[in-house]
Symmetry: C2
Subunit: 474 residues, 2 copies
């Protein structure tokens, strides 16, 4: 072997065996290893994801995706319809619906949306075969751990470069979860993760278009497909994640990647404890500002009629992602800092109804947007300044509201209601679920659905129709 | 808008509109714009790809992929079986089969295998609807142009980094081809290319495993899916390829990318004129050496019994990709320089039969491998030295064969039989087709199939069953 290839091969050999380690860990995880509070958080994640998927199923992007793949019949339910399709297609379509409102949960380590990939993948597979609630929860917890730990190893740089982590890391999360649910052994799981390393994709240039939810659908579908291909015997490189031409090198920056970080502190704590749930259907980066303003209005410290300007100091990354200063579509509006703030100021709330083509044209909201100015706070203006703050949970939004009388309302906030440091309760989730499914079910069924999610760990057999109360429990 | 986001947005705005330009060009291309020799080359590409797909359909990786997706019935034929499935699944499965032997064609500009993505995508779509041979050829030519020109803009660096271009650029080629065949308008085609930018994937760490042909399948499937999603109304960023968080930035190196290169000299000449067809089922990088040795044996200048050592000077990249010095599987053997050379020395030929688990164990071949030494030639040892040579068609292999009597047989070769500078004839292809399909058809049907490919441009209705002689012409 020549010098160059041996040095490249040496680089692969000298790296810790990330792919094999994660695969092995996934196969060994048992339901009994998962603490009660992590089980509870996971049950809420399923309920939350189903809520937003039901709300999303009627959106144009979701129905267009269904139309493109209408010809694939199978056993898995397309949520919000009576259509049944193959597991990978259901995973894709439900992933699109779950993410289309940008109302689905996030994980701080993964820097993206984990449930929008994992839950559709797991439910689609559950519809194909008999699995229990415990299996579903264990698979989810395993997937989250894998997606988040790969993300931690690659640091914020992967995200900062412009990758959509929901799709890149989400592919690994959905793959590990699917592999666990299908009962793959350690080598098959390693192959599945290796195949996933060749399926990860998703660029942030498509934010603000209906391709963004397609990213989530693809993560879900990739997970199902990678697991099924590995189960059928397709093999992959044992070092597909860490190898010298592997995922981490190609999707990351070797100067910051710490391979060992992918293998440290597995389940200590479980990454599901870092789930952030949204109470407003917009990009998470504006949520601290919305909380500040909604609370100020509710407490009567603020009154829209008295406000002359609102300045919001945030990070360079927030305004890179929330890039639509004057949104031209309702999907862009979710990534418009000014639009989201203007809605909150006007209504003291931000709801799904504020993100329709008609709502977007509302002249009153447009007028308020003129007085809203997001800016990059100097302390968060570069990756070097921002990332340490973000990692420490100290990235912040500084809100300055100027009143007509010259007085200033000034607040600084680092988290938001629903983020892991201020987590949602079942009551929060019930309100969100009712708002997302308004008019879809009669009250008896609506209650039944919620109860089934609350008792997910006790169901011997799950599947989307069962969770939706469409089939009797067995 | 703050300084940072406006500079990022400015970066996008100041770049030439690659995505829109390519989409527009694709929609305007007509069959009558394509010179006769390009039509002939394209017909040969279809025949060549069908040959290798038929040969590949029986391979383990192809049958495993079928097993994983066995539950998706539809209208499109899975080549080599009687199974019909959806267009996107057929595209995937036929792409896997087309690439599994690494016997499919390449394009020098794209630095990868274009037909293995485009032909399965186009045939799968043709099976769903009525299209003519002219439409099929025009779509292929359009797709090749798009995939290759994006590749040219990103330079060799994208490849050198470790991306599998067959899957990354191949996704764009298959998407443009699919969009053209489905008759998308300019905006829909732009959306399809934008969606494709979020689906491109494929890492080279998986070379030598059955995930490598999965990459080709994914390119084909991505093409079908991106085109169908765009047709159904899914939109994407108008600057998904060139934008500041777009494909070129994330999959390339901005310091070498020339955005304008993606838009120059479209069809002048058509990239189909740069197709390289393989006559041996192995990585293309060893083909010049095989040609030298086979010719030497045939001319009686070489005799295996007299040979003491064979040294082959090639590029750093060849030995990075052909990384299996002592292959452990028959798929690794296609990426083992020593194995391929040893087979050629022993048999004066390299055939599909040399890449089975049994053939791999042959002690005689293993023994000859000991005397074969590939090395990195100093003039091709870095990307800086290699890429200019490659671009100029002057990358070379230097073969030194030492005989027992101390005499040296020394040759230097830059191309191979079948590469665009020494292109295949229909006679070459007929031999390859017969070898690939040995025992599959009776002689009448075997002849009929070949004839249909030779007259592809005159068929009013095409589809895989028609090309395979399973349905009567209309």
């Amino acid at each position: 072997m020549n010098e160059i290839t041996s040095s490249a091969a040496e680089a692969t050999r000298s790296r810790p065996p990330v792919t094999a380690f994660l695969a092995d860990w996934v196969t060994k995880l048992r339901f009994s290893d998962i603490p009660t509070e992590a089980v509870e958080t996971t049950k809420r994640a399923f309920a939350d994801t189903l809520s937003v998927t039901l709300a999303g199923a009627g959106e144009a992007a979701a129905s267009r995706a269904r139309q493109a793949l209408v010809d694939e019949p199978g056993k898995s339910l397309v949520i919000g319809t009576s259509l049944r399709t193959t597991a990978r297609t259901a995973a894709f379509l439900n992933g699109v619906a779950a993410h289309v409102h940008d109302f689905d949960d996030g994980n701080a380590t993964m820097l993206g949306h984990p449930s929008t990939g994992m839950v559709p993948a797991l439910l689609a597979l559950a519809d194909e075969r008999n699995v229990s609630g415990e299996q579903l929860i264990t698979a989810y917890v395993a997937g989250m751990e894998v997606g988040a730990k790969i993300a931690r190893a690659m640091t914020y740089q992967h995200n900062a470069n412009g990758w959509h982590t929901t799709s890149t890391f989400g592919t690994f999360a959905a793959t590990a979860a699917s592999a666990k649910l299908l009962g793959l052994d350690a080598q098959q799981t390693r192959d599945a993760l290796g195949i996933a390393a060749s399926m990860a994709c998703g660029i942030r240039q498509n934010f603000g278009t209906s391709t963004k939810p397609v990213h989530a659908g693809r993560a879900a579908e990739n997970g199902v497909m990678a697991a099924k291909l590995a189960l059928a015997g397709i093999d992959a490189s044992p070092t597909a994640i860490e190898g010298h031409e592997g995922f981490m090198h190609l999707f990351g920056d070797l100067s910051v990647i710490c391979f060992e970080d992918a293998m440290r502190d597995m389940g200590a704590p479980f990454e599901v404890m870092r789930i952030n749930v949204k109470l407003y259907p917009v990009c998470a980066m504006v949520l601290p500002a919305l909380d500040v303003l909604v609370e100020g209005l509710r407490n009567k410290e603020l009154d829209l009629a008295d406000i002359t300007s609102v300045r919001c100091g945030t990070s360079y990354q927030t305004l890179n992602i929330m890039r639509y200063d004057r949104p031209e579509s309702h999907l862009q509006a979710k990534f418009s800092y000014s639009y989201c703030v203007a809605v909150a100021l006007r209504k003291g709330d931000v709801t799904l109804a504020d993100f329709t083509p008609d709502a977007l044209k509302d002249p009153a909201t447009r007028k308020i947007m003129e007085s809203v100015e997001p800016y990059v706070h100097p302390d968060q203006s570069t990756p070097e300044l921002f990332e340490p703050l973000y990692r420490a949970g100290k990235a912040f939004t500084e809100v300055d509201v100027m009143r007509r009388d010259g007085s200033l309302f000034k607040r600084r906030k680092s988290n938001y209601i629903g983020s892991s440091s201020d987590p949602v309760s079942w009551e929060h989730l019930e309100r969100k679920y009712r708002a997302c499914t308004d008019g879809m079910f009669d009250s008896a069924r609506s209650d039944l659905i919620l109860t089934r999610f609350q008792h997910l760990d006790r169901l011997n057999r799950v599947g989307t129709p069962i969770l939706l109360g469409l089939e009797e429990l067995q």
